[in-house]
């Protein structure tokens, strides 16, 4: 029982991360109908930037403080992500308006390849570490209930906490700010939104920035946990089923989907994995999402698609 709960918690933790990345997907898709395959690459680039700048900046400016280094690095990395977002909108999206979804998907594939290359070209391609002073030591909870207590990694807990906070913040932001409303308007109907004077391009830049931010945070958390390297990019791919499950257009869907996948993954890995030789969390999420798709093509919270003739 205790073990089960531990796994469950572990799942929820990574679930929050998935939710975070999933959010990136959803926002971009809502706003521009782009299924942003480059999300993973963005995580990689962001993490790389964070990792390297947090080392380089102190060297350049010659100071010791880890905290300052991290803050500056974060700022620079965030800035970089924003610039990227702007460039992507400028150079790619605006030339592909009203293209078919699959075309856009392929475009983001291209972007993701480019970012992979760029990131490693500029920041190097070996394994780097990020140290944002996350508590590494485990913590035993509910010792009263289970003897020996539940082993919970504080790191995960904080990570989850941070993720949760960011998710919450974003959710609120899009619920209650003007930009949020504008975004939702755009999501509902491009032409209409434009006709009432909502600047599509600006909205796009914004959502890509936000997605970049999500990527950065996710990258930091992941990076500090497993170290920053190329595999991060593919790790992010695991967040895809999340949005499929949650429905491409639903923010809550992304969050809940994230949690479901997170838990499902861990549980399956622990309980099914051994039976079939392990390592199944890579595809389990996908198959889960896929099976789900067959019965509800628009996902948990997505709107039903009616094609008129």
């Amino acid at each position: 029982m205790a073990f089960f709960l531990e796994t469950l918690f572990g799942g929820l933790m990574s679930g929050m991360l998935y939710a975070l990345i999933g959010l990136g997907f959803v926002l971009i898709f809502k706003a521009s109908g782009v299924f942003n395959f480059a999300q993973g690459a963005m995580v990689l680039v962001a993490a790389l930037a964070m990792a390297r700048f947090s080392v380089w900046i102190p060297e350049w400016l010659g100071f010791e403080s880890l905290l300052l280094a991290n803050i500056l690095a974060f700022a620079v990395a965030a800035l970089m992500m924003f610039v990227l977002a702007w460039l992507i909108e400028r150079l790619v999206l605006r030339h592909l308006v009203n293209q078919e979804a699959t075309t856009l998907l392929m475009a983001t594939l291209g972007i993701s390849y480019f970012l992979d290359g760029l990131g490693q070209f500029t920041f190097g391609s070996s394994v780097y570490s990020i140290n944002v002073g996350m508590p590494k030591d485990p913590w035993f909870a509910f010792e009263s209930i289970f003897e020996g207590g539940l082993l919970i990694s504080l790191e995960d807990l904080t990570a989850a906490g941070v993720a949760a906070l960011l998710v919450l913040a974003l959710a609120l932001f899009f619920q209650f700010t003007g930009t949020g409303r504008a975004l939702r308007a755009v999501a509902d109907d491009h032409q209409a939104a434009q006709s009432v004077g909502i600047p599509l391009n600006r909205i796009w830049v914004i959502v890509w920035c936000v997605a970049g931010l999500c990527a950065l945070v996710a990258g930091i958390i992941w990076g500090s946990k497993f170290g920053v390297q190329f595999t991060l990019a593919t790790a992010a791919l695991r967040a895809l089923p999340v949005v499929i499950l949650g429905g491409l257009t639903s923010i809550p869907g992304a969050i809940i989907g994230g949690l479901i996948i997170g838990m499902g993954e861990k549980l399956s890995e622990v309980y099914l994995g051994p039976l079939v030789g392990g390592g199944i969390e890579i595809w389990f999420a996908y198959v889960l999402a896929l099976v789900f798709l067959l019965f509800r093509p628009q996902g948990l919270f997505g709107e039903k698609i009616i094609d008129r003739v």
């Binding site: 299924f35 150079l91 790619v92 030339h95 592909l96 293209q99 078919e100 979804a101 699959t102 075309t103 998907l105 392929m106 475009a107 594939l109 291209g110 972007i111 993701s112 390849y113 480019f114 970012l115 992979d116 290359g117 760029l118 490693q120 070209f121 391609s125 593919t234 791919l237 895809l240 089923p241 499929i244 491409l248 079939v276 030789g277 392990g278 390592g279 199944i280 890579i282 595809w283 996908y286 198959v287 999402a289 896929l290 798709l293 067959l294 093509p297 094609d307 003739v309």
Partner: protein, 354 residues
Amino acid sequence: MFYRENGQFKTSYRADQQIFPILQDRVFIAILLAVAFVAVPLLSSDYFLRGILIPFLILALAAVGLNILVGYCGQISLGTGAFMAVGAYAAWNLGVRIPAMPLVLQILVGGAFATLVGVIFGIPSLRIRGLYLAVATLAAQFFVDWAFLRVPYFTNYSSSGSVSVPALTAFGLPVQTAVQKYIFVLLFVVVFTLIAKNLVRGALGRQWMAMRDMDVAAAVIGIRPVYAKLTAFAVSSFIVGVAGALWGFIHLGSWEPLAFDLNRSFQLLFMVIIGGLGSIMGSFFGAAFIVLVPVALHSIPRWFGVPLSVDTVFHIEHMVFGALIVFFLIVEPHGLARLWSIAKEKLRMWPFPH
């Protein structure tokens, strides 16, 4: 400019519908084949054959397969690598378990297995479209990667997890030297390209394209989406599977699942996009392009005496490809094939602009 079409009139539908209706084109193709089958084996070095031509041919074949699915039927797939893997491992297992089975048959049956897997993962395409389908095929990719990594049966319990093929012979002839392998592959490529061409210009091809261009209208004129889509998946993954088997058997010789991972899928997708969606010839252009760019990136700096480290080249390569994909999607969605056909039209119209 070189076209002289007067007097090339067609007196039968057969003549009118041949692949190359214009004499000058037929001549060109004839010369091309002659070069490929005679001149190249005589003149080119082992490195050129092993390092460039053979991979080019096999990948081109795979691209042809993928193009049928993506370019002609409009069903996006990110799982091509997986289907190649199935082809390769199936063929390999057949070889191991039924030693008597001749090479060509192994490869074909390998393709058949790929077909099977392809159709299974194609079934979702009946319910789901576009992006969702992409994810489904991605699932195929991950699942297959995992299966060949973690299910020891497929690798015949080899400790390293990698498999390798013995010295090959086909029809009693050795397929071992570079030239032999080249000819062997070339034959496959020519035959399957012809088959693919026949399909896309026939009734089935029209059904695929109809589904791609306007699925509602297609249904209204009596095209069964199930049939159209699944045949596309089947044919596509068969050809891809065969290519996979060739890749493993002829090009690599020994390999592990990594040889067919997600990047392979992307690489093929890029070939199809850059080469030209919905064009058999485009698949070859795309393959040539993707095979040659890394070579160029390696050698050009060396000529200028600034040798780059391997992974620098690798990163630049990524950037170049990424940028090119975006470029083509924006500027010429029909890829190199379209540029080619435009050039051809210009030559036919010459000296007139249109």
